[in-house]
Symmetry: C2
Subunit: 96 residues, 2 copies
Amino acid sequence: MELLITYDVETTTPAGRRRLRHVAQACETYGVRVQKSVFEIVMSEAQLLLLRHRLLDIIHPRFDSIRVYRLPAGSFANAAHLGHSPPAGHDTPLIF
Amino acid sequence: MELLITYDVETTTPAGRRRLRHVAQACETYGVRVQKSVFEIVMSEAQLLLLRHRLLDIIHPRFDSIRVYRLPAGSFANAAHLGHSPPAGHDTPLIF
């Protein structure tokens, strides 16, 4: 399944900056970073449970926020993009 | 239709910070901010064309990035969320 994971991690403290790195590393294990705190991830339900568990271990529940959107197949390829584009890990059209 | 708009705007310059404010203001016209640079927006195709035009006028094509994901109806309500949650403008379940 295709998932979009977006996050806000508080970075005013060294601990927050460490959490930010660890959240990114966890997401990089499974997917493509398309913006600073946005990942496109193709994974199974079982992998999602593992990632969810890992992320819950990393974040601070009061300061950090992670959102997980389930997208229909093909959503990454149909995403529209304005401005500069990261190295596309998927075959995403550049402009809609 | 339901859209997720995510963006990275370069903020190392006053001009970049101004663009960031203007992108947020443009998105706030139509939707709910769920994270610093993530908006959930319900809008028509015609409104999307207007917003796209407005965003293209605001951003710097080399430094800024905006992604627009089309989501099936109900995606906002089914989004999973870990950590602290903004005031939910939609009836989003908190934990999956």
